[in-house]
Structures are given as structure tokens and as C-alpha cells.
């Protein structure tokens, strides 16, 4: 099986994530889509590590996982506090910071 399929899968997951971020309003779903994009990137990193025969890509994938874990903590906390303040989890309602 060609390693290219992993890359196709990665691109597919990334696209799904990106479209989800752009079209969904619910902050939780947007958040999940971001995770999906991160993991798509992780998959491509690991694939490239395999193609190149070294471990650089895999190490970066670990870094991404650590950052993603930290991001989940902070992101969920922000979403929770927004929801408490505005009784809504829609990203379009949180639009005070503008022109």
C-alpha cells in the first residue's frame, strides 16, 4: 500500500476540519474541527517521517499533541466562561472586538 494514501487521508481530514471551522457556529464543534486539523497534520508529519526514514516528523507530532492538549484546556475554559456570561456557545455572538 502506497504511503500516499496516508497523505490523501490527511488532506481529507484537514479539509473536513477547515470546512467545519468555517461553517459551524457552535464553539464546541469548531473546537473539535480544530483538533481534527491538528491531527490531520500529525498524520502527515508521521507519514513524511516514514517516507524520509528519520524520526524528525514523529518528534514534531509529539510536540503538536502536547500543544494541542494545552490548547484544549485553555480553549474549553474560555468557551465555558463565554457560555456562562452570554448563555450561548455560538462563535458569531462573541463579536464585540471589532472596528
Amino acid at each position: 500500500m502506497s504511503v500516499n494514501y496516508y497523505l490523501y487521508l490527511s488532506a481529507l481530514l484537514f479539509t473536513i476540519g477547515a470546512v467545519g471551522v468555517l461553517v459551524r457556529r457552535n464553539a464546541i464543534v469548531v473546537f473539535m474541527c480544530i483538533e481534527l486539523m491538528l491531527n490531520a497534520v500529525n498524520l502527515s508529519l508521521v507519514t513524511f517521517a516514514r517516507i524520509n526514514g528519520n524520526l524528525d516528523g514523529q518528534i514534531i507530532a509529539f510536540f503538536v499533541m502536547v500543544v494541542a492538549a494545552a490548547e484544549v484546556v485553555i480553549g474549553l475554559a474560555i468557551i465555558m466562561s463565554i457560555f456562562r456570561a452570554r448563555r450561548s456557545a455560538s462563535v458569531d455572538d462573541a463579536n464585540l472586538l471589532k472596528y
Binding site: A18, V21, L22, V23, R25, V30, V91, D92, A94, N95, L96, L97, K98, Y99
Partner: protein, 646 residues
């Protein structure tokens, strides 16, 4: 110090060192009154009178001293005050020149000025600003004395502008009246045109002769090297200055409006002294006009034109002061005609100037007395029969009247007769033309002055219901009586044995006695008298025989209509200068507003507007930011791919 006297003049020593006080005393008094504020109110008018009287006494002392110098002694005394503009190549001294011509003016200004100051004590008694009035009158006296005493054109120009300022301030003295404020502005602006001529003349003198002192310029004008065209140009520019100050055509329009000022101002500034400054300027610059027949011819034309214009205007107005103002224009026209005829006749112009100073000031004070009695009414159609209630005013005014129409032996007879004679003796067609114009002017003068007398002092009473005329207080009557005496005697005394002409010789050259007259003097005198009597009789026939209508009649000839509008002088100025000026100003405002400002403001609006639009992209929606990030990432990726693959 004595070495600094201008070449050609004797240095002022002894009594003549007092000359500077003539200018200084009124100037100091003006400074005290204008800067001293309300503290000087109780005694301000007394100080204001003391200054010109003191100057008059000094003038008399100097007259005695100067007549005491005869034979070889020069009668032109130059007092060096200080070095004013000590620049290399351009050196101007602040020097005062006391010579017969300036001394005659000093005595006229301070003498008539003192009387009018005293008169003003009574006339302005109820005015809350009497102190300011006296301060400004003194300022005028100081500036006018500086004008006639200067020994160079630059210092003369300082006095020239000073009297213009004083005239502006005093015409607008009652500035709460819009008409007075407008009249003051008009006088100032029209005078500015003339002043421009004088300043250009001074610049041209400096460019041509390298100096602006009288001696330097006159020597330059005499020298054969002087170019005729340049001299004519200087003469014409001086004439423009003289026209502005002396209200001669085409700059005559301001004088009628200047009557908005208090009547003593009209008497002093706009009849006796300031308006004659133009005649002084031409007589003083005789050396230049002697060298340029063309410039002289134009002076004659201006004089003759204004002489007739003023007389025609005077025939139609009903405002007593404006009739007198038109008459002033006309009489100054006579003077201009005389000094324009040139060599040998300057003294006659000055003679008429002096006699006119007496009788016109006399009549203005009389008019002021009438207005004082009639609640400031100036319309002669509201007067009538005043001779019984105001006998003193009537008699003194009558003296002035007889003087101006040239009745023997009053002052005007001697001076006006001489001018007509000089015009005729000029010879040739132009002599006959100018002489007959002057003669016709004498008839018109008699007509309008008789009309004024009849409408004011004779006939039935046409007073307003609340008018209670009464004779003026003594403080006003005494100056009127003294001036009336001057109207009677001045001409005779000044002409006795040619005294004034001889006296003025050092300043304006010898008066020429023509051997062969065009018309024998005696016959001409009788002719002039007959013409004047004819004018007076015509006035009696037209105005005196039937009751004067209280309202101005409307079915009158075209000439009367024109004269009532001062021969369309204002209309002409408005069409030729004011309207095009306004259009030009409006066009410039449009260009500045739309063109210059438009470009700058438009640029600013463009930046501001596009910024405001660009700001709208910050919507606050996280997803739109995400979209732009994605678009950016895609663009970067595409670019990378393009580079790699391409």
C-alpha cells in the same frame, strides 16, 4: 548741528529754533488726551484749545522774525531735528523747513484751527466723547503742520498719511451711525488711491534723482540732464496724490460723504486745511511742474473740471453741509486751476486758498450753528426765516456768502478775480476756455450760495414741529465773528501792494505781472461782479420768489437729477471699480475654495474615506478571520508550489 541744514536753505537759529514746537505741542496734547483716559475729561477741551493757540503764537513770532530778515538774508530756514534714515546711498533727515509758503500755511492751520477748537467747546458740549474729539483734532493739527513743515517728500508723506488718519477718525467720530462709519471708510479708501500716487512719485524721485529732499529734487528738475518724460510722470503722480487729498475729479466722491463728521471737523479738515494739501503739494513742487507743461495742462484740466462739477452739484443738493462741501470742491478747483497755470501764478492759488480758508470755515461754523439750533437738521427745506431768530449767525454767514460769490470788497473778490484774470492771460484758445469756465463757475457759485441763503435764512418758516431755534452760545459766536472779519478783510490785506505775492517769492518764484492783459483788469472785475450778480439774481428768480416746497420736487430736469446724485460719481466708481473688484474677489474666493482648498481637502477626504471603508473588514466574527487566514495559507502554498513546480 547747524551744518546739517539742507543745502540751499539757511540753518535755523535763534527764534527759528522754536519751529519744532509747532509740531510737538499739538502732538503732545493729542497724546495726553488720547492716552490719558477719563482723568483728562474735566480739562481736556482746554488743553486741546491751548495747543493750537500756543502754536499760533509761535507762528506769529516767527512771522515777525522772518519778515525782519530782508536783503541778503535767506527767508528759508531749515531746522535739523535728527537723522531719520541713515542708510548708505539713501539718507533722509527729519528736517523742518520754515519758509514763507510753509509759514503761511502754519498761520492758516493754527489760526483757523484755534478758532474752530474754541467753537467746538460749545458745539460738542453735550457729547460724552468731547475729550477724544479734541485729542483727534490736535492729532490732525500736528500731522498737518508736519505736512507743511517737512523739508523732504518722505517726511511730508508722514504728515500726509497722518492727516488722512485724523480725517478718517473724525469723519467716523460718531461711528455708531452706520452712515458715518461707511463715510469714514470711503474717505480712507479713496484717499488711498491718491496716496498710492504720491508714494509712487516719491519712489520715482528717488530712482531718478537719488534723493527725496526738496532741494535735491528741485535741483534735479532744473538740471538739463533731467528727462522730460520722467518729470511729467512725477508731476502726474503728484497730481494723483493731490486729487485724492483735495477731492478733485476723478477722486472727488468722498468729500460729500465726509460731511457725516461733526461740523467743526468739516470746517477745519474738509474746508479750510486738509483738502487744500493737494494745492500745497503742487505749489511746493513748482519746480517739477515748471519743467513739465504736460503735467501742468492736466492740473488745469482737473481744476477746471472739478470747478464746474462741484458748482453743478452744489446747485442741486438740499443738505446744507453737502452744498458747502460741493462748493469746497469747486473752490479747490479754482486753486488747482491757478497753481496749474504755473510759474508766476502759484501765489494767486495760495491767496485763494487762504481767503477760502477763512470764508468757508466761517460758513461751515455758521451751518453748524444752524444745525445746533435745529436739532441737527441738515435739510434746507426744513429751514427758512432763520435770520430773525439767529441774527449773529445770519450776519456772519452773510459775510462768508458775500466773500465766496466774490463781492467787492470781500476776500473772495480779490482772489477769485485774480484767478480768472490769470486763466485768461494764459493766452490762446486754452486761456479763453479756462477763463470762461472760471467765469461760468463764478456765476454758478453765486447761484447755489444765494439759493442756500434764501432757503436757510429767508422765506417762510418750514421748521419741524419740535424745532425751537435759538442763537448759539457766545463760545461759538466769537470764532464765527472773527472768521467773518477774516472773510471781509483777508483778501484786501493780503493783496495790498502785492504783499502776499512778494512774501511768497522765495518759495514759489516771482509772480509775473503780465504787461498786456487779455481783458483789462478793471473791465474783467466788473464783468465778474456782473456775472456773480446775474447768478444771484437767477437764484432769486428761481428759488426766492415762490415758497420753497418742503419735499424735494420730482419733476425736474435730467441735469438736476444727475446733480442730485453728485453727477453719478459714485455710480461711476461702483461700475468701473467696485463691481469688477467684487467679481474678481469672488472669482478668487471660488478658485481658492474649490481649487486650492478643494485639492487639499479632497486628498484628506480620500484617505479618510478609504480608511473608514477598510476598517469595516474588522467584523469581530472569528470565522471570517479564520477564512482570511485560510486564504492566506492557500495563497502561500500555491506560491510555493508554483515556484517549485514552475
Amino acid at each position: 548741528m547747524t551744518l546739517q541744514a539742507a543745502a540751499g536753505y539757511a540753518a535755523a537759529t535763534g527764534t527759528f529754533k522754536l519751529t519744532f514746537l509747532l509740531v510737538l505741542l499739538p502732538a503732545l496734547s493729542a497724546a495726553v488726551l488720547l492716552l490719558g483716559g477719563k482723568r483728562t475729561n474735566p480739562w481736556g477741551h482746554l488743553l486741546g484749545c491751548a495747543a493750537p493757540i500756543a502754536a499760533f503764537v509761535i507762528g506769529l513770532v516767527e512771522l515777525l522774525a522772518i519778515t525782519g530778515r530782508d536783503g541778503g538774508q535767506s527767508r528759508q530756514l531749515d531746522q535739523h531735528l535728527f537723522s531719520w534714515v541713515p542708510v548708505a546711498g539713501f539718507h533722509v533727515n527729519a528736517n523742518l523747513l520754515l519758509d514763507p509758503l510753509s509759514l503761511v500755511f502754519v498761520l492758516l492751520i493754527t489760526g483757523v484751527g484755534s478758532l474752530i477748537h474754541i467753537y467746538s467747546i460749545g458745539y460738542m458740549e453735550h457729547d460724552p466723547d468731547r475729550r477724544r474729539f479734541f485729542g483727534q483734532l490736535n492729532l490732525f493739527i500736528a500731522a498737518m503742520l508736519l505736512l507743511v513743515l517737512a523739508d523732504n517728500y518722505l517726511l511730508l508723506y508722514v504728515g500726509w498719511e497722518g492727516v488722512g488718519l485724523a480725517s478718517y477718525l473724525l469723519i467716523g467720530f460718531w461711528s455708531y451711525k452706520p452712515s458715518a462709519a461707511v463715510a469714514a471708510k470711503k474717505a480712507f479708501l479713496v484717499n488711498r488711491v491718491g496716496d498710492l500716487g504720491l508714494s509712487l512719485a516719491i519712489m520715482l524721485m528717488f530712482a531718478t534723482f537719488g534723493t527725496v529732499s526738496f532741494t535735491g529734487v528741485f535741483a534735479g528738475a532744473h538740471s538739463p540732464a533731467a528727462h522730460g518724460g520722467t518729470l511729467t510722470a512725477i508731476g502726474l503722480l503728484l497730481l494723483l496724490g493731490a486729487c485724492g487729498k483735495s477731492a478733485q475729479a476723478p477722486l472727488q466722491s468722498w468729500l460729500l460723504d465726509a460731511m457725516e463728521g461733526p461740523t467743526p471737523v468739516s470746517a477745519l479738515i474738509h474746508a479750510a486745511t486738509m483738502v487744500t494739501a493737494g494745492v500745497y503739494l503742487v505749489a511746493r513742487s513748482g519746480a517739477i511742474f515748471n519743467a513739465s507743461p504736460d503735467a501742468r495742462l492736466l492740473v488745469q484740466i482737473v481744476g477746471a473740471t472739478t470747478l464746474v462739477m462741484g458748482a453743478i452739484i452744489g446747485c442741486a443738493y438740499d443738505d446744507i453741509k453737502k452744498v458747502l462741501a460741493a462748493s469746497t470742491m469747486s473752490q479747490i478747483g479754482y486753486m488747482m486751476l491757478a497753481v496749474g497755470i504755473g510759474p508766476g501764478v502759484y501765489a494767486i492759488g495760495i491767496l485763494h486758498l487762504l481767503t477760502h480758508g477763512f470764508f468757508k470755515a466761517n460758513m461751515f461754523l455758521g451751518a453748524g450753528s444752524v444745525m445746533h439750533a435745529m436739532n441737527d437738521e441738515v435739510n434746507m427745506r426744513r429751514y427758512g426765516g432763520l435770520r430773525k431768530v439767529m441774527p449773529w449767525t445770519f450776519v456772519t454767514f452773510g459775510f462768508g456768502y458775500l466773500a465766496i460769490i466774490g463781492m467787492f470788497p470781500f476776500a473772495g473778490f480779490f482772489s477769485k478775480d485774480k484767478i480768472i484774470e490769470a486763466a485768461l492771460d494764459k493766452g490762446g484758445a486754452s486761456g479763453y476756455l479756462l477763463g470762461s469756465i472760471a467765469l461760468a463757475g463764478a456765476a454758478l457759485t453765486a447761484f447755489y450760495m444765494t439759493r442756500l441763503m434764501i432757503m436757510t435764512f429767508f422765506g417762510q418758516r418750514r421748521w419741524a414741529r419740535d424745532a425751537h431755534p435759538h442763537e448759539s452760545p457766545r463760545v461759538m459766536l466769537v470764532p464765527m465773528v472773527l472768521l467773518a472779519a477774516g472773510s471781509l478783510l483777508a483778501g484786501f490785506l493780503l493783496i495790498l501792494g502785492g504783499s502776499l505775492q512778494h512774501f511768497l517769492t522765495p518759495s514759489v518764484g516771482t509772480s509775473v505781472e503780465v504787461g498786456a492783459h487779455t481783458i483789462a483788469p478793471l473791465i474783467l472785475s466788473l464783468l465778474t461782479l456782473a456775472v456773480a450778480l446775474g447768478g444771484a439774481a437767477a437764484a432769486w428768480l428761481l428759488v426766492g420768489r415762490k415758497p420753497v416746497p418742503v419735499e424735494q420736487p420730482l419733476n425736474v430736469s435730467k441735469l438736476t437729477w444727475a446733480a442730485r446724485r453728485s453727477l453719478y460719481g459714485d455710480a461711476l466708481n461702483e461700475t468701473v471699480f467696485m463691481r469688477p473688484g467684487q467679481y474678481l474677489a469672488r472669482a478668487l474666493v471660488f478658485f481658492d475654495g474649490r481649487g486650492v482648498d478643494g485639492a487639499v481637502n479632497g486628498l484628506a477626504a480620500l484617505v479618510g474615506g478609504s480608511s473608514a471603508r477598510a476598517r469595516r473588514s474588522q467584523t469581530g466574527f472569528a470565522r471570517s478571520y479564520a477564512l482570511s487566514m485560510l486564504a492566506g495559507a492557500v495563497a502561500v502554498t500555491a506560491a510555493l508550489l508554483l515556484v517549485r513546480v514552475g
